[in-house]
């Protein structure tokens, strides 16, 4: 018998359940406990770049909006720099820019929304460039392990043709599920379909 591989196993995921808001966004859920809520300010006041707003709904397999979602965003700044020590350009990240956000849906309508700056081009592997994108992670009751996806911007169509993630999607028509709709200058709509017709592409990152 061979030696045992002594790696630990990752802690298994469980659903965030229906009350995820009181733990991760208590202020947004109307529960006043922390002096300072985390994740409400993605870009900060001073970060350079185009200010944008993104909103959308998450639909279940029956076409109904999911009203108990928690959504997190991770993104680069307007110059494509992540506010993280492993980004080689981290020292040049926009002042006050954190790049991480967390929002919950409106309990009555299911609508979520956040404000940020539009990210820049992010370096990809092997010298390739990634089109501007937001990394999204969604959890909710009924979702056993958080779902990762990406939001791309419609005006960057030319860059999408060479984006290393979009071009990995075999079925051409599914790529459009990752591209937001521009509804007004600086305003985008991004609906996520968990299941069925028009199902959003989800990523194993």
């Amino acid at each position: 018998m061979a030696q045992a591989l002594d790696y630990l196993k990752e802690t298994p995921s469980q659903t965030a359940g229906p009350y995820v808001h009181i733990g991760l966004a208590p202020g947004a859920a109307g529960f006043d406990i922390y002096d300072r809520e985390l994740g409400w300010d993605i870009a900060g006041l001073e970060a350079s770049g185009e200010r944008i707003e993104v909103e959308g709904l998450v639909f279940d397999g029956t076409g109904a909006p999911v009203k108990d979602v928690l959504l997190e965003v991770w993104q680069a700044d307007a110059n494509g720099i992540h506010a993280h020590p492993e980004d080689p350009r981290a020292a040049e990240v926009s002042p006050g820019f954190r790049g991480w956000g967390r929002v919950i849906t409106n309990f009555d309508t299911g609508l979520w929304a956040f404000k940020t700056v539009k990210p820049g081009l992010v370096p990809g592997r092997s010298g390739r460039t990634q089109a501007p994108h937001l990394n999204l992670w969604i959890v909710a009751r009924g979702i056993n392990i958080g779902l990762n996806t990406r939001l791309y911007f419609p005006e960057d169509e030319a860059l999408h043709a060479s984006d290393p993630v979009l071009t990995l999607i075999e079925q051409q028509q599914r790529r459009s599920t990752l591209i937001a709709t521009r509804t007004a200058p600086g305003r985008y709509r991004f609906d996520i379909r968990l299941q069925g017709e028009g199902e959003t592409v989800f990523l194993d990152v």
Binding site: E10, P12, D35, P123, N135, G142, D204, V205
Partner: protein
């Protein structure tokens, strides 16, 4: 950053599948198409960084952080442990957040209509950063079991929801901690979304008498393992740590 050090592939046979029909809500909230697996880039190997300025002094003490007229009712416990990665290395300075019901199984949430009462001195959420060695701790009361509409007589075992970040967005994890010896664990449709009994064991915190405080509170130990990461074995192939 053209060849970042990647995190190990997540073992999705170890985690619960998206579609687990005995947990009914998963039926309409699970993708039907396969996930698209990515080689990691800067977008995946970076993630948010938190500092002590983000927190208040009582954020990890659920006995005191919502106390209005006294301490909450319930079994006083410490929940502590380490955050490690799959190679056994500690994950320092990472954000751990928890939320839970009170001792009678009621959440302080307007959508929770269970007839058990709210505790006026208990909020039910806490957060902390792991220290330089990956250790974290909370003080709280042991949550109660509660009923939920799955089958008509479904009851969740006592549990604490746990959210952890790690150092990258690809390590992001939400799970639930259960308590050693709880007979409801084996009956729970959410627990049983996990196919491997050994994986379920990883979510059950043992009683830890060594960490109990005599005449004050008991303790449970809950270690959390996040995805590990490649090291540089051959420098002409992989950049990394």
């Amino acid at each position: 950053m053209d060849k970042p050090a990647e995190f190990y592939q997540r073992d999705r046979d170890w985690h619960p599948p998206a579609f687990a029909p005995t947990y009914k809500t998963s039926v309409s909230r699970s993708p039907r198409q396969a996930l698209l697996s990515l080689e990691q880039s800067s977008s995946e190997i970076t993630g948010p960084v938190f500092g002590h300025n983000d927190f208040g002094a009582l954020d990890n003490d659920l006995i005191k952080n919502y106390a209005k007229s006294g301490d909450p009712i319930g079994e006083r416990i410490i929940v502590h442990g380490r955050v490690l990665d799959e190679t056994g290395r500690p994950v320092p300075n990472t954000l751990v957040e928890i939320w839970q019901a009170n001792a009678s199984g009621r959440y302080r949430h307007k959508k929770d209509t269970y007839l058990a009462p709210i505790d006026p001195n208990f909020g039910g959420c806490g957060r902390t950063l792991t220290d330089a060695y990956g250790f974290y701790y909370f003080r709280t009361v042991k949550p109660g079991a509660y009923p939920w509409r799955n089958y008509v007589n479904s009851w969740r075992p006592a549990h604490i929801h746990v959210s952890v970040f790690g150092s990258s967005f690809s390590q992001r994890l939400i799970t639930q901690m259960y308590f050693e010896g709880d007979p409801l664990i084996a009956k729970c449709p959410i627990v049983n979304t996990i196919p491997d009994p050994e994986a379920i064991d990883r979510l059950i915190a043992p009683l830890d008498m060594n960490a109990a405080i005599p005449l004050d509170c008991l303790a449970y130990k809950f270690d959390i393992v996040l995805r590990g990461r490649r090291s540089t074995l051959f420098e002409n192939r992989l950049a990394g740590n």
